[in-house]
Amino acid sequence: MKSAQRLTLYLLLAPAILWLGLLIVLPHVEILILSFSERVAPRVYAYGAGNYLEFFTEPLYWRTFARTAIMSIFVTAITLVLAFPIALYIARVAQGRTKAMLLLLCLLPFWVSELVRTLGWMMLLRETGVVSYLLRAMGLADQPVELLYNDGAVILGLVYGGLLFMIVPLANALESLEPSVVEAGFDLGGSRWTVLRRIVIPHAMPGIVAGSIIVFMLTVGNFATPVLLGGKNGLWFTEQIYAQFITRFNWPQGAAFGMLLLLLSSIIVWAGLRLTRQSLGTTLRQA
């Protein structure tokens, strides 16, 4: 009986172990090893940190990396500021059907493919697009206006893509705020601003952290939005990984870039969790 139970357990564990072993752990070991191998002659490789040195010595690479990191932080901050009033409204003001409706309307666009949403922004922003057309029709511009292929368009697209992942954790966190606490704040003479800053925001902190981590991760790892909305000026680090792997067929260099991207994303997640003493599981569940 005992050994039969053990056999059942092993059988049940097998899929999980195959999945995590063959699709997650070993592939990452593989790119870690690959990232430390250098081509010394055709088809001959030696171990060394050359791919990482190349990253630090070639300005295009580390600048794209730094640009991706900084713009992602910026995008996360804008997303937070834009999403907060919406989440607050959904959690504290809206009631019953309106509340369910508002939340569902937030969810719907994000179920649609990222590419469809990006197509929408391209059609709105490009020189022959809807916004340019409307500006001319209203007499605000006398020539077609190109709003695509600049940093503004990239930031807009990335913020748009991140909003939902900020609103849901924020609304969840704000949901549990006791109305009496807010009332007490007002009764004690606090202004709206003071109550918001001293009571509401501290209470929402777990949601703010969860939302920010997820938005940052999604933004840093995004590919289609910066490439399509930024064009040649997009310069996103994932594009460098793609170029090394698929276009130039320099896998060791691409693997090194992949490890660096993974490192950046993991450090931010880890730091965010440490800062607020939360676990990965509860954070992801909030999303």
Partner: protein
């Protein structure tokens, strides 16, 4: 705070306009009688859905082999991904909720990892690892193993790597709510273990199994980052869309997008119905 100011309400309204503007534009211009997906409005047409290309020189979605093949490729990936996600996800959920063994906390944590790994990195790591495996095996077996090379089978594996996390979480959440005394009652009444599973446990899990399957189907259909790194010559739908968007597409791409939106709307309302039935 319960009486929102006018400014706040205006902001909410503006926000929802912002949220739906790109989708509306995509949908509306699917019906524009123009060879380009841009204004001005030149009249209503269904040419971009069913046209043969006689009017604008380029065919509509349902007549264009490029679009039809890529939708077919997406289905070839999404159906196995969804089936495997439900099957393996159920086993995983069982392990997480019912089994007791050393290292369970670690395993549960590892199952969350794929969600924090950027999709592009998942893609390249699986590409590199399976290329190595293929190189080794081909040398040893002296035959080609194309299914380990970039192509639809590798896309299935790449997408499963993170979709399994989602399906496992959905099914485990439902299994946690299950009242185990129901199973015990059935066993006491003389049912075999297999019969209890079939007549008590699985029917209880059914909404979660359907839900996980639909989510997996949708995520597979729409995945871009991981898929991009693993495709061979057969392009699934998002890859074809990406290519067309870079080169400049006809409004046929709007028609495809509208189909996608309708599918999403359908799945979402299905969800709304099943979750209402649960309550």
């Amino acid at each position: 705070m319960n009486r929102p100011s006018l400014l706040w309400k205006l902001y909410i309204a503006a926000f929802y306009v912002f949220l739906f503007a790109p989708l509306l534009v995509v949908a509306i211009f699917a019906f524009n009688a123009s060879p380009f997906p841009s204004p001005p409005w030149r009249g209503f047409t269904l040419e971009w859905f069913t046209g043969t290309g006689a009017v604008f020189g380029k065919p509509g979605v349902l007549m264009d082999p490029i679009w039809l093949t890529s939708i077919g490729n997406s289905l070839k990936v999404a159906v196995p991904v969804a089936l495997l996600a439900v099957l393996i996800g159920t086993v995983n959920a069982w392990v997480l909720e019912r089994a007791e063994f050393r290292g369970k906390t670690l395993l549960a944590m590892m199952m969350l990892w794929p969600l924090v790994i950027p999709g592009v990195v998942l893609g390249i790591s699986i590409l590199a690892f399976f290329s190595r495996v293929a190189n080794g095996l081909e040398e040893w077996l002296q035959r080609d193993l194309d299914f380990l090379r970039p192509g639809l089978s590798l896309v299935v594996l790449g997408q499963l790597s993170f979709i399994l996390t989602i399906s496992t979480l959905i099914i485990a959440a439902r299994l946690r709510k299950f009242d185990r005394s129901l199973e015990e009652a059935a066993l006491d009444l003389g049912a075999s273990r297999a019969r209890v599973l079939r007549t008590v446990t699985l029917p209880f899990l059914k909404p979660a199994l359907i839900g996980a399957g639909l989510v997996a189907l949708l995520m597979s259909f729409e995945n871009f980052n991981t898929t991009l790194m693993l495709v061979g010559s057969d392009a699934p739908l998002p890859i074809t869309m990406y290519g067309q968007m870079r080169e400049g597409a006809t409004p046929a791409i709007n028609a495809v997008s509208l189909f996608l939106m309708l599918a999403v709307g359908g799945i979402a309302s299905l969800f709304a119905l099943t979750s209402k039935a649960e309550v």
